[in-house]
């Protein structure tokens, strides 16, 4: 889509328009919404990982003035909290409130009361009798015959399906001929990798405020990555026409996938509000939020065949995933994981993926920045490092030889969504990074001595920009926009796309301003709710700018067409002889005759004249679907220091390459890459969520005091955090843009782990690399070498 | 800024105690329909509101010996629904039918109507033609005031700040009637009102007569000139009222520049109301058509 004009905002650093509101505390997040007369909600959460509810007595709580909600008040409509797939590919296993607890901390009952304190006290006044059932926490255990069963049957689309051995989903994919590929190889490598559960720890806990309106409709403010997904699910579980549900778009305190589905609290809050006939606000405490959703853990076995000249001839991945007590779409999760795996390297077209996802009595898993990508990337990029080391290849060259780049096929979100790569910054990243870090001269681990050992590691990754493919598949992906020119030349932009802090909204404003050539500050982002604007699937899959922006581009182009048509009537010129240019002097967009700028009118004058003539508002609204899902690439060169005596890993230096096509706002792109590095560092070295198997409770009890992520102190010195944006242009993106969000995390983990290998010569197959794990590995090696060479 | 305190009087004794202690600071609230408006308009401020609404002893309608007893807290709705009042004081009954609107009548009290001492207070002319006594109580003692000389000016009465109106008494009088002229039929402050007491002999000549008028001067007034002019006339003789038409002009002094009616209009309307009130009083007709 069109090149940018001279003096364009696109590619320029513009201070974010919501900055003022955010630094002054004025910004309203869902948990800040105050509706007069509102009640406060609270949840009774399961004290057991697996239990039947035998009886419930809410009498005491009701005497306290609370409105109580149990499964008896709920229509037992089965649903899946996430609705990105078409219904026929969606497993449904849950209701708004269950009659059986399947994980510790699962919401079982809810109350609303006049004060938050009263609500909490009322929850404690509810008497519940449980029949405690045996629980299962590990997928291998869960699949055994005789293991406690979470479900007998669930639904796939409208079909009832039986669940055997807690296996929720199996997804096996194979292309080419793996056996033939392995036969062609000179060496076969097989390794296993394990990534545990982590938690989003988004700053704002999940919450909802629901207000019953006088006309019987409801207004909803919630932590939500998709207002329309929330509306559609609420419509379904409440049995309400969608025209009665207005989910309002608000900024919220961080996503990372945590609100990619309709959060469990939201339908509960809606039910409470409708029962009470009053607005209800339901905000999770942090210790509740921990039990809401977590990142998918994964266990992989990776087998690769390589020829002596460094050609990867085949790859086979088996994946075992424990997704907890409910399905938040592990089926597409496995498909995506297969896609990320398949799209990293060519493998001569010989791939096989065997994925199994299993129910356990743990918190349900949902997307968290990558939907399987950081998990499988850690395995594959560790594998590439292993192969390089074992076979004596340069890790840079092995990647350059095998990566999928321009002209190759890319699986956006699994096998059904494929498009051809048209822009790619992989080569630039690898070649420039190799030079900047002097990568080829890094020392081998066995030459290093001392208490603190330094290492340099590399990994590369990507993510799709959206989930569009040339063929309509099983995944829904389109966006909408409404653009209207006001009578003073300013522009209203409505978009259903949410912004999680990455600056998507400013990017969309820039696209609109660029198409219509109006000063950026004249493009206002109008408040939007599901009643006001068309559908957008979700701000997920790194699609905000690429897909949401394309919809804005498409609609703004239509508005521009109308504008020129109206201008033509006023100026007695053919529309095709006219063009729009921005006039910073007039602080207006201007329509002028091509090559004769003396004849011109400001957009404000045109719109006002159109009004005087009663010609109508110059506006348009439509939806738009991208037919590609171009990968945005990242490459991480990470230096680490490992303290041999304590096992502590620090990162003194990092070099990050990001390929987001033409960046809308380079500072904000870099900000996402640096933020992702921090989270990746946390994922790799700090974060874990062990379960106390005696109680089913998290070992940290959901308290941040025992869930540490790297703080400002743990980050490298500012001067040693370098981010380079690749010089690429995506022909299918709005003004050449792709995404960056999830790609930014994909390769952090493997890069750190590979650097640790380079520092101390120990390969880690399991995250996190806590000081305890690292020191234990060092001690184990010491013991082995002491055993091998007795002194 | 509005500045009020609030005390609740649970008994008559408590109430007069509060009034004694507070003196002019006290501001008695009963039905509150006048009080709320005056507070809102800023006519009164820096007062202690003395709530007497809960004193049941001040409520009720009954015969006390030969006299009709009406508690000061009795609402206009209660008066308007009372068969006793309908029989013994038709004028008061009729006034209660046109007082404000049914909803307001559920709150407004007869005592409040007196204390407001508005020139157009609907219950006042009926009480005057019945020469009711107003009973008040204070810490100093009790006394009865004849209603006809209780009003000293607009909003002013001879009731002292420490005194509380407790009840009204009057002799039963079936030959009374009340007529009201308002800008509309409800929620209308009177353009003018007339209450009449009139008895006739066998030939239909007026033997005794009392007239009281509302909204024709700064207070409700007795129309003594008109009363004289009516004595001896035949009530069903249209022409006989001519003298009264002239005489009554001396009894009234309508306020100029009123938003509700001009002086000239009132002077024309008053004798009409008097005539109709006298006729209906003489005939004992307290039917629904209170308004012309």
């Amino acid at each position: 889509m069109t090149q940018v004009s001279e003096g364009s905002y696109i590619g320029q650093n513009v201070p974010r328009s919501d900055g003022h509101a955010k630094v002054t505390g004025a910004m309203v997040y869902p948990s800040d919404v105050i509706v007069p007369g509102m009640m406060y909600g609270a949840l009774l959460r399961s004290p057991y990982p697996h239990a039947e509810i035998l009886s419930v007595d809410t009498t005491e709580a009701e005497k306290m003035g609370a409105v109580c909600l149990t499964y008896k008040d709920i229509e037992p409509i089965k649903y899946n909290e996430r609705s990105v797939s078409i219904p026929a590919a969606t497993y449904r296993d849950r209701t708004v409130l269950p009659d059986k607890a399947r994980h510790f901390g699962e919401p079982l009952m809810a109350v609303a009361a006049d004060t938050q304190e009263l609500a909490y006290r009322a929850v404690r006044a509810i008497k519940v009798e449980y029949k405690v059932l045996p629980a299962v926490f590990e997928p291998e255990e869960a699949m055994k015959d005789g293991a406690p069963q979470l479900y007998d049957k669930i639904y796939l689309g409208d079909e009832e399906v039986a669940v055997h051995n807690n296996i929720g989903v199996i997804r096996n994919i194979s292309e080419g001929d793996c056996e033939a590929g392995f036969a062609k190889a000179d060496r076969i490598f097989q390794e296993s990798f394990e990534l545990g559960r982590i938690y989003h720890n988004q700053m704002e806990t999940k919450c909802a405020v629901v207000k019953p309106e006088p006309d019987g409709s409801i207004t909803v403010w919630a932590t939500a990555q998709s207002i329309h997904a929330n509306r559609q699910l609420l419509g379904r579980v409440l049995g309400m026409p969608l025209s009665r549900i207005n989910v309002i778009k608000l900024p919220f305190g961080g996503a990372f996938g945590s609100s990619i589905q309709v959060n469990t609290v939201t339908p509960i809050c809606a039910y409470l509000a409708l029962k009470a006939g009053r607005p209800v606000k339901l905000v999770s405490a942090r210790e509740e939020d921990f039990y809401s959703h977590q990142k998918y853990p994964a266990k992989f076995t990776v087998k690769m065949g390589v020829t002596n000249d460094g050609l990867i001839t085949a790859a086979h991945v088996t994946a075992l995933v424990d997704f907890g007590a409910h399905q938040v779409q592990p089926l597409p999760f496995l498909g995506c994981t297969a896609g990320w795996f398949a799209s990293l390297y060519k493998y001569e077209g010989n791939i096989r993926f065997d994925g199994t996802a299993v129910y356990t009595n743990k918190t349900p898993c949902c997307a968290m920045q990558g939907y399987g990508n950081p998990q499988i990337n850690f395995a594959i990029e560790s594998m590439i490092d292993i192969i390089s080391n074992e076979m004596g290849f340069s890790p840079v060259d092995l990647r350059l030889k095998n990566y999928r780049g321009v002209g190759d096929e890319f699986w956006g979100q699994g096998p059904t969504i494929r498009s051809i790569i048209k822009s790619c910054g992989v080569e630039q990243s690898l070649v420039e990074g190799r030079q900047m870090t002097d990568f080829d001269h890094r020392e081998r681990p066995d030459t290093k001595t001392g208490d603190v050992r330094r290492g340099l590691g590399l990994a590369r990754g990507f993510h799709c920009s959206g989930t569009g493919g040339p063929k309509e598949g099983e995944v829904i992906d389109y966006s909408s926009a409404l653009v209207k020119i006001n009578e003073d030349g300013s522009v209203d932009l409505l978009t259903p796309v949410t912004d999680h802090g990455g600056g998507t909204w400013d990017a969309l404003r820039k696209i609109c301003a660029e198409v219509l050539q109006v000063p950026l500050d004249l493009v206002g982002l109008s408040p939007a709710g599901t009643m006001q604007i068309g559908y957008d699937v979700c701000t997920h899959a790194t699609r905000g700018v690429y897909c949401g922006g394309a919809a804005v581009y498409h609609v703004a182009m239509k508005v521009k067409e109308k504008l020129l048509e109206v201008a033509g009537r006023l100026m007695a010129e053919h529309a095709y002889n006219l063009e729009v240019v921005r006039s910073d002097g007039l602080h207006q967009g201007v329509v002028q005759v091509k090559d004769f700028p003396a004849k011109s009118m400001t957009i404000g004058d045109i719109a006002k004249q159109a009004q005087n003539m009663s010609w109508g508002t110059i506006a348009y609204t439509d939806s738009y679907r991208q037919r590609n899902c171009p990968p945005c690439f990242t490459t991480h060169f990470v230096e680490v220091e490992v303290d041999m005596r304590t096992g502590v890993i620090t990162v003194p230096k990092v070099l990050i390459f990001g390929d987001c096509g033409n960046p809308m706002n380079p500072d904000l792109v870099k900000g996402q890459l640096v933020g992702s590095f921090n989270r990746g560092f946390g994922y790799t070295v700090f974060e874990q969520l062990p379960t106390n198997e005696a109680t089913g409770e998290l070992a940290n009890k959901g308290l941040l005091v025992d869930y540490k992520t790297p703080s400002a102190m743990e980050m490298p010195p500012i001067k040693d955090v370098e981010v380079i944006l690749c010089d690429t242009y995506e022909p299918t993106g709005p003004f050449g843009a792709k995404g960056i969000g999830e790609a930014a995390l994909a390769s952090v983990q493997a890069a750190i782990s590979n650097a640790v290998y380079n520092a101390i010569g120990i390969r880690f197959h399991k995250l996190p690399l806590t000081p305890e794990a690292v020191l234990a590995a060092i001690r184990e090696r010491e013991a082995q070498s002491a055993g091998a060479t007795p002194s | 800024m509005k500045n009020f305190a609030f005390v609740n009087a649970r008994s008559l004794e408590e109430a007069v105690g509060h009034l004694a202690a507070l003196g002019p600071q006290a501001y008695v609230v009963a039905g509150a329909t006048n009080v709320m408006v005056d507070i809102r308009d800023g006519k009164r401020n820096d007062k202690t509101l003395v709530n007497i609404r809960g004193i049941d002893a001040l409520r009720g309608i009954r015969m006390e010996g030969a006299l009709v007893w009406v508690g000061a807290l009795t609402t206009i709705a209660e008066i308007g629904a009372s068969e006793l009042i309908k029989g013994h004081a038709p004028a008061l009954y009729m006034a209660a039918q046109v007082f404000a609107d049914p909803t307001t009548r559920n709150s407004a009290t007869i005592g409040g109507n007196l204390i407001k001492a508005s020139a157009g207070g609907d219950t006042l002319p009926p009480l005057m033609v019945m020469e009711a006594d107003v009973h008040v109580k204070s810490a100093r003692g009790e006394r009865a005031l004849p209603i006809c000389d209780i009003f000293t000016g607009l909003g002013k009465t001879r009731v002292e700040p420490d005194e509380l109106v407790t009840h009204f008494t009057f002799a039963p009088q079936p030959h009374t009637a009340f007529m009201k002229m308002g800008q509309r039929k409800s929620m209308a402050i009177s353009v003018c009102t007339a209450a009449a007491y009139a008895t006739v002999d066998g030939e239909g000549r007026v033997t005794d007569c009392r007239i009281a008028l509302g909204a024709v001067a700064s207070t409700p007034v007795r129309a003594s000139a008109a009363e004289k002019a009516l004595l001896g006339i035949k009530v069903d003789d249209e022409g006989a009222y001519e003298a009264m038409y002239g005489a009554v002009q001396g009894d009234i002094n309508p306020r100029p520049h009123s938003v509700r009616a001009s002086v000239e209009y009132r002077r024309q309307i008053v004798p009409v109301l008097v005539k109709r009130a006298v006729r209906r009083a003489a005939l004992g007709d307290c039917g629904p058509r209170v308004q012309p």
Binding site: Y120, R124, V283, A285, R286, E287, K708, M713, P771, E772 | -
Partner: protein, 293 residues
């Protein structure tokens, strides 16, 4: 547990003087003292404060916030805020291990609230400020309506959350004697992140006697049920010639002595392992700071 709301019901009292506070303690049952609240409020949210009918706020008592230097040493009011201690230049020069320990605690916005006395009375085995006070030979001043008594800091703790304080007593001040001679101190801490609770903490305070160790005191946090004062091992070092091997031997000895546990922060194995190098390093650091070669 509820991190959004305190579910406990209690009355709040705010005495304006020490006598009034002591009177309250002697007269009322189930009184908990609120100084900085950084432990108490969290515990109330965790619902681990079973016996509390009254919260007594001692922030109205000025004398508990004061610090006084004399030739003998320093007396720190029990309710002196950590931030006031760490930014006190004289404190830093006299008792660097104490100010280092304070700086290693939590976040600035917590240290602005938290008091040093609270760090003692909370009686957590991980309390960072406790080790230095013990190693400096500090004494705690305990008052009640019955009078005042003094207890050596090392004898203050009985079990997790339990101290020698009687129910009518409160900690009013901490006295630390000025170290004499060629002294060297070190405080080190291992934690997951910089503002975290310790996996391990260690304090060493020694006085050098030429090439030999004179007096020495060592303590460790987060390795036992209460702050651990390594009395015997320390005593065994006095008079010994300082050397690298002595430092390492001591590390081994301390590690061997410990019987730590696994918890959310780390493992027993890790604690025992890292203790070795931590002790050796800290000893060497304190030695160097005392001017020793």
């Amino acid at each position: 547990m509820n991190t959004k709301h305190i579910m406990k019901e209690y009355d709040y009292l705010k005495p304006s003087g020490l006598d009034e506070a002591l009177q309250i303690l002697s007269e009322k049952e189930k009184v908990k003292i609120y100084a900085g609240g950084t432990d108490l409020i969290v515990k109330l949210k965790m619902e681990t404060v079973p016996d509390m009918d009254y919260m007594m706020d001692i922030n109205g008592i000025e004398e508990l916030k004061q610090v006084e230097y004399t030739d003998e040493g320093v007396r720190i009011g029990a309710n002196r805020k950590l931030w006031d201690i760490e930014t006190d230049q004289r404190m830093t020069s006299l008792f660097p291990a104490l100010t280092d320990a304070v700086k290693a605690m939590a976040a600035i916005s917590v240290r602005n609230l938290a008091s040093i006395g609270g760090n003692f009375c909370n009686a957590s085995p991980v309390a960072d400020a406790v080790g230095p006070v013990m190693c400096y030979g500090g004494t705690l001043e305990i008052a009640s309506a019955r009078g005042v008594r003094k207890v050596p800091a090392k004898d203050f703790f009985l079990a997790p959350g339990v101290t020698v304080l009687e129910k009518d007593e409160m900690l009013t001040g901490i006295f630390i004697p000025t170290p004499k001679g060629d002294v060297g101190h070190a405080f080190t801490k291992m934690a997951r992140t910089k503002s975290d609770i310790a996996k391990l903490s260690l304090c060493v305070a020694l006085a050098r006697d030429g090439g030999r160790i004179g007096h020495i005191a060592m303590s460790m946090g987060a390795v036992a049920a209460r702050p651990l004062f390594l009395e015997e091992i320390s005593a065994g070092l006095a008079g010994k010639e300082m050397s690298e091997s002595l430092a390492m031997e001591t590390g081994e000895a301390v590690s061997g002595f410990l019987q730590p546990i696994d918890d959310n922060r780390t493992t027993a194995v890790y604690r025992k392992d890292v203790t070795k190098t931590m002790v050796a390093d800290a000893l060497a650091l304190a030695w160097a700071r005392s001017g020793g070669a």
